[in-house]
């Protein structure tokens, strides 16, 4: 039930780290030097923040070469990182960003307001990243270290948009380059400088001696290797060819936990997996069918078998413990009688004898195949005969965008700030099937739109959470998603890799706990013992 999909910009938010106690026994004071070899699960198409497509794997590389303007803290609020401060006006229509003095890009260019203005404007103009910039209107340099950003409508959550790909800063030289130099030769302000890239094989970065955070980084070099198959990746780690990798396949996590040479940090992320239903096509356009499926799905069985008992069930995009969580009323336990009666009601209205038929599609990973099998047999008990279909990633995303599907395995939402996910929910983005649309299930609910817009008018967390709570309740009532579980991920590394949990922000605060953060752990403080 777990599937990696290249999600847009902020859905995979930036690197954050745990403030909790270390899981490994510290082995003396940190020492400098050494090379870390990191295993990634996918290749990335390029290293330009404004037009490349970054998913988890891409962020690992990006965070070593670039810095984001903002990043999340343990209080789930964005804190300044590369920027020194970001302050709004009274109604969140104008923001003032102050930059830290004396920072240089890896090619010697200074980090100044002009560089930031260039990046932000390029982002807005980009087809890819511009989506996440909604109310952003323009950026202007006030003086050498101050930038003024104007919004077309109030946007209290603007800092959150700068924690993801839309907030990473590339040097003007890279942004102004043409052809492949704009994507293949990244230049940032980060702790490591780009050295070389052999596509689909590896990428190497070397220590940036003039990094603005003093005393860091400790390693001399990081080599990122792309090994797409999770089993191969784990095998490489066990064989010593990798030092660090991440994985969400249950079988592999179990295997890694049994290996004494490896340290495993298990994560329960907010990001949910679900079966996404296309509310614009029959039979899923009928609420009874969707509700019936919700009552027919036995998520616990999926957790026990495919998940080997590890993931946690989801009833919305956030889990208890997150400030954005609110109970939604989604049915957590199957009720076959109720499910059957709902489905039968639909069938009798539409004069369907025999089973209700439609298609369930997923990408062909082993876990997905197993989950689909189980779901199919669960639904068969209430008179639904679903045809399974597998498609590879590109076709899959294509079909979701165009609404050419009935039911899909999917995973997204649950970003560190819910506003980042707004673009997937707006009814204005719900073009009918046959046209491209970001609102994949074609949800058209003005109440949801209003909740998101209202949340942009204030920065009081409790008020915003109350607005989002309305959205979760609406989603549970309308059932465009059959929530299954939250992502259960593991960071797996050799025992001599230290410092994974030691990351702190420049203002001294701690990042969100690694257990609940994203799959992209910051490697800034890593050293090898």
């Amino acid at each position: 039930m777990l599937m990696a999909i290249g999600v847009l910009v902020g859905a995979c938010s930036t690197s954050t780290d745990s403030g909790g106690s270390a899981t490994t026994v510290a082995a003396g004071p940190p020492k400098a030097g050494g090379t870390l070899t990191v295993g990634l699960d996918a290749e990335t198409d390029g290293w330009n923040p404004s037009n490349s497509q970054w998913a988890g794997a891409g962020y690992y590389v990006a965070q070593s070469i670039f810095d984001p303007l903002m990043t999340f803290g343990a209080d789930n609020k964005p804190h300044p990182y590369l920027a020194q401060s970001l302050t709004p006006n009274a109604d969140f229509t104008q923001w003032t960003m102050k930059l830290r003095p004396g920072i240089k890009f890896q090619d010697g260019e200074p980090l100044n307001a002009a560089a930031v203005v260039l990046q932000l404007n390029k982002n807005k103009a980009s087809a890819l990243v511009g989506q996440a910039y909604g109310p952003f209107k323009s950026a202007t340099a006030v003086d050498d270290l101050t930038v003024r950003i104007d919004m077309s409508t109030p946007w209290s959550a603007f800092p959150a948009a700068l924690t993801g790909q839309g907030g990473y800063l590339a040097a003007p030289k890279q942004l102004n380059a043409t052809g492949s130099a704009a994507t293949d030769k990244p230049i940032g302000t980060g702790p490591y400088s780009f050295k070389e890239w052999v596509r689909d094989d590896h990428l190497t970065v070397v220590k940036n001696p003039s990094y603005w955070r003093k005393g860091l980084p400790l390693l001399n070099q990081i080599t990122y290797k792309v090994i797409v198959d999770p089993q191969s990746r784990l095998n490489s780690l066990q064989a010593g060819q990798l030092d660090y990798e991440y994985d969400n396949t249950a079988a592999n996590i179990v295997q890694a936990k049994n290996n004494k040479n490896l340290t495993v940090i298990q994560q329960d992320l907010d990001q949910p997996t679900m079966v996404m239903l296309n509310t614009a096509v029959a039979p899923l356009n009928d609420l009874r069918v969707r509700q019936g499926l919700a009552y027919a799905t036995n998520v616990q069985q999926l957790i026990d078998t495919v998940g080997q008992g590890m993931p946690k069930q989801a009833d919305g995009p956030y889990q208890p413990g997150s400030p954005w969580y609110a109970p939604s009323g989604y049915p957590l336990k199957p009720d076959l009688a109720k499910a059957k009666s709902l489905i039968d009601a639909y069938k009798s209205d539409h004069h369907i004898t025999g089973d209700l038929k439609f298609t369930l599609a997923c990408t062909p990973t082993t876990s997905n195949n197993q989950s689909m099998q189980l779901i199919k047999s669960q639904w068969a008990k209430v008179g639904v005969d679903v045809t399974r279909k597998t498609e590879e990633q590109a076709t899959y995303i294509n079909d979701a965008l165009l609404g050419k599907y009935q039911a899909n395995c999917w995973t997204y939402l649950g970003s560190k700030d819910p506003d980042i996910d707004a673009i997937w929910m707006f009814s204005s983005n719900a073009n009918p099937p046959g046209q491209l649309a970001l609102n994949f299930p074609r949800i058209k609910d003005p109440a949801i739109d209003q909740a998101y817009l209202a949340a942009r008018k204030t920065d009081v967390q409790a008020t915003r959470a109350a607005e989002y709570a309305k959205v979760w309740k609406k989603l549970a009532a309308e059932v465009p998603y059959l929530w299954t579980t939250h992502l259960h991920n593991a960071l797996i590394f050799r025992n001599n890799v230290q410092g994974i949990q030691d990351f702190t922000l420049p203002d001294g605060s701690k990042p969100p706990p690694l257990v609940h953060a994203t799959t992209v752990a910051p490697l800034l403080n890593v050293w090898l013992s």
Binding site: Q231, A251, P364, Q370, Q373, L374, K389, E392
Partner: protein, 312 residues
């Protein structure tokens, strides 16, 4: 590269390629009976115990394909046992890492294998064999065109074709079956043509033509019956290759998802090697035995039929 490239042996012949293709049936592994100085050489081809074992296995596969749904086997879509269990009375092949019964899955998988094998053989013989027959007999432009088409199909990377088609039409049963069967056609065409060429030189054919028989009549009444049997023998080998090809596609994740399939089982099994290696080995064993049996049948039949070819 085609998945069904007949091995090309040279021969001292007017058309080396054709003579080569004619040897396909034999050179793929059978003991040769090439005569030397007029002495027939003992081929060692008998219908021995191994042959009958192969027949038995293939029959078992066919039986499974036909009756899998009727037999009282464990369900293939819900876990029926403890996960990663070893072989036991309840689960002869054990279970995979979520508790599905492997024996039942293997039996159901026979359907896909049978469908692939039969459709490849059928389409190959009908379309490929017929084209080869026509080409070998009529010569001239028809032959050139048909052989040119065959060559292009053989030169075209098979995997690109299969990947492209399965992406185009989606990975469904029909798509996969048709794709693989189509890939097998050129091989049959070449074999058919080669055999036709070598047979059409024979006296009895020439006699028939000298008697004034129409070309098509000669083709169908004289040449076809003699060509059809070696082509059918090649079909056994082609069927084995088709099962391998489908397994390869399934291994790459491109099998029809609602059909139980040995190749897909191996693909899933490779991710469970640590917990439940039997999930990979059970389908591997079954597939291996099927392929070996088909190869045996093809080889033995070809060798047994050989003397007749040499006599004319």
């Amino acid at each position: 590269m085609a998945l069904f490239q007949p091995d090309e042996a040279t021969g001292v012949d007017r058309d080396p390629e054709a003579a080569a293709d004619a040897e396909v049936v034999i050179s793929a592994g059978a003991r040769t009976s090439r005569t030397d100085h007029g002495k027939p050489v003992r081929t060692g081809a008998r219908l021995d115990i191994v042959f009958w074992l192969s027949v038995l296995w293939v029959a078992a596969v066919l039986f499974s394909a036909l009756f899998a749904n009727v037999l009282h086997l464990q369900p293939t879509d819900t876990p029926s046992g403890p996960p990663s269990a070893g072989p036991s009375w309840a689960h002869p092949f054990g279970t995979d890492n979520i508790g599905l019964d492997l024996f039942s899955l293997c039996v159901h998988g026979a359907r896909m294998a049978t469908i692939i094998a039969l459709s490849t053989a059928a389409l190959g013989i009908v379309v490929g064999g017929l084209s080869g027959l026509v080409a070998g007999f009529y010569h001239g432009v028809i032959e050139q065109v048909l052989m040119w088409v065959t060559d292009v199909m053989l030169a075209f990377p098979a995997l690109v074709f299969a990947l492209a088609v399965v992406s185009f039409a989606g990975a469904s049963l029909t798509t996969v079956v048709i794709t693989i069967a189509v890939l097998g056609i050129p091989g049959f065409a070449r074999v058919g043509r080669a055999l036709t060429l070598s047979h059409s030189q024979r006296p009895f054919v020439m006699a028939s033509q000298a008697m004034g028989a129409r070309k098509s009549r000669t083709m169908f009444r004289e040449v076809l019956p003699n060509v059809i049997v070696p082509v059918a023998t090649y079909a056994a080998l082609a069927a084995a290759l088709a099962i391998i090809a489908e397994g390869a596609l399934a291994f790459l994740g491109l099998s029809a998802p609602d059909v139980v399939d040995w190749g897909a089982m191996i693909n899933q099994g490779k991710d469970q090697l640590y917990q439940a290696p039997q999930a990979a080995f059970a389908p591997m064993l079954v597939m291996f035995l099927t392929i070996v049996s088909l190869n045996f049948l093809g080889e033995r039949l070809g060798a047994v039929l050989d003397p007749r070819q040499g006599q004319l």
